[in-house]
């Protein structure tokens, strides 16, 4: 694909608030059940052919985006060390909000103790809804309208039985308390968003499972948007891949993030700690963000990080972060991402079908 020429002054494209902001606290959540991709293959292809990941996370029967967001947010608040009532926004990005009408965010805000003096809203932009909420939180805090805001990316995605997406559609995500840079464990130095109208993936109202636009999912969608977004941010920032200790890209399967990292000039080592899709699946709005939490769990002060999300429809947000000294003391205050991943119970396809409501009972 063609790299479009950048405008004369690409630094004007960067999203940088008047007051510098960053991540004060972060929290991840992954449910404990795992469905091996080999189980999906056993049912639908007789076990023939390769699988796009090793296994995916599956929520328990009593879990959904609301309960998972509550746990990730409690972890983020523990690390932030601020009272929940100090938050002025609770924003949840997801494509699997439990209600069609009734916000996820008000229930999360009530459960974690933020209500009633707060903004609350649900964000939708396929897999980019979580990072979109982060950008909005940067604006709210960076304009000094609020000292702290909570941005969440969380999903319990479903694929149609037998569809390619059924192998990978996982469950999980992360929550971030955004606040002033001087209190941050990672300063968000800049963000950039790249968005076009692209018909790669969609789900109409009242439909349970999504559709994908076959040849549109790869080149014109995922690769085009992430490379444009990451390249523009680096060009405007005057950075190259070598300036970043780690990078994380949206991960619908194992191959896409590996390939986009290679196209941009990042090494396998740079993306390894944030590449969680082989063991938890594609967590959609949570994918890039939970990858970031796994990196923050091991990063050192002074490390520079690059994060690029992707959402079908389509768009990509890229962030440039700088880890501070505060990480060392705060990351041990809550359950780490790898601890959630290691806590695992393997289930078979029949258990999965029951847990995910794929059996018709009446």
């Amino acid at each position: 694909m063609d790299q479009q020429p950048l405008p004369q002054h690409p630094q004007h494209l960067l999203l940088k608030p008047a007051q510098a902001v960053g991540i004060i606290g972060y929290g991840a959540y992954v449910p404990r059940y795992r469905l091996p991709a080999s189980e999906v293959a056993r049912i639908w292809t007789g076990g023939e052919g390769g699988t796009p990941i090793k296994e995916k996370s599956v929520p328990g029967v009593d879990e959904d985006v609301i309960t998972m967001s509550i746990e990730a947010s409690r972890n983020a608040l523990k690390r932030a060390g601020i009272p929940a009532a100090a938050l002025r926004a609770v924003w949840v990005g997801s494509e699997s909000h439990p209600y069609a009408v009734k916000p996820t965010s008000t229930i999360v805000a009530e459960a974690i103790g933020v209500s009633p003096n707060t903004q609350a809203a649900d964000w939708e932009f396929a897999c980019k809804a979580g990072t979109e909420a982060v950008v909005a939180a940067m604006g709210l805090v960076g304009s000094k309208m609020a000292e702290y805001a909570l941005a969440i990316g969380m999903d319990t995605a479903q694929g149609r039985p037998g569809d390619a997406l059924e192998y990978t559609a996982g469950a999980g995500g992360a929550a971030f308390v955004i606040g002033p840079a001087e209190q941050s464990l990672a300063i968000i130095q800049a963000a950039y968003s790249y968005v076009t109208d692209t018909p790669d993936f969609w789900r109409r109202a009242y439909q349970k499972y999504p559709e994908h636009g076959q040849r549109f999912t790869g080149e014109p969608a995922y690769f085009e948007h992430i490379t444009q977004s990451a390249r523009t941010l680096m060009e405007a920032n005057g950075t190259t891949p070598a300036d970043y200790k780690y990078a994380v890209f949206h991960q619908p399967n194992t191959k896409f993030p590996q390939r986009v990292a290679g196209m941009l000039g990042f090494t396998k080592e740079q993306i390894a700690p944030g590449l969680l899709v082989p063991v938890i699946g594609n967590t959609y709005a949570g994918a890039a963000l939970i990858g970031l939490t796994a990196i923050l769990d091991i990063a050192e002060p002074g490390d520079r990080l690059l994060v690029s999300s992707f959402g079908s429809g389509a768009g990509s947000d890229t962030f440039d972060l700088l880890v501070t000294e505060a990480i060392l003391e705060r990351r041990d205050r809550a359950t780490k991402t790898q601890e959630y991943i290691t806590r695992r119970t393997v289930i078979d396809y029949a258990t999965y079908a029951r847990m995910r409501g794929k059996l018709v009972m009446k």
Partner: protein, 137 residues
């Protein structure tokens, strides 16, 4: 439909918010505005830690309406770190044997649908085996 009741109970049910007695420091759950220890007025809100241990338990195979989806499940008396003993469902057990004295922690989960799939989803506290941490809380 019990919508007003769900709405009234949401704070204690979502997050284990109870009361502390200003006179004798007793921690109270569920909140009842009168201290069970000293019988004086106690209306100060108190956020429980959510940590406790299994005091007693039983497994439910024949669930009441609204809970069919989750059966069989285990209901326990949980003794909270702060004192009170409460009844709650255990979750994320998945086959592992429950033991008296087992350390558990509170999580907020779906309790049931109020009515069918068109009804309100009721959320509230449950307890799961305490997560093993590399670093203690």
């Amino acid at each position: 439909m019990e919508i007003p009741r769900h709405w009234r109970l949401k704070k204690q049910r979502y997050a284990l918010v109870g009361e502390v007695c200003p006179h004798c420091e007793a921690k109270i759950f569920p909140p009842r505005d009168v201290c069970p220890e000293c019988s004086r007025e106690a209306k100060t809100e108190f956020q429980f830690s959510g940590r406790g241990e299994v005091y007693s338990y039983t497994t439910v195979y024949d669930p009441p309406a609204g809970y069919e989806e989750q059966a069989p499940y285990t209901v326990a008396l949980v003794k909270l770190e702060e004192g009170p003993v409460i009844t709650a469902q255990l979750t994320d057990l998945d086959g592992q044997p429950v033991q008296i004295g087992m350390p558990v922690e509170m999580v907020t989960r779906k309790l049931r649908n109020d009515g069918d799939e068109r009804g309100l989803i009721v959320y509230g506290y449950k307890f799961r085996p305490r997560l093993e941490r590399q670093v203690a809380n």
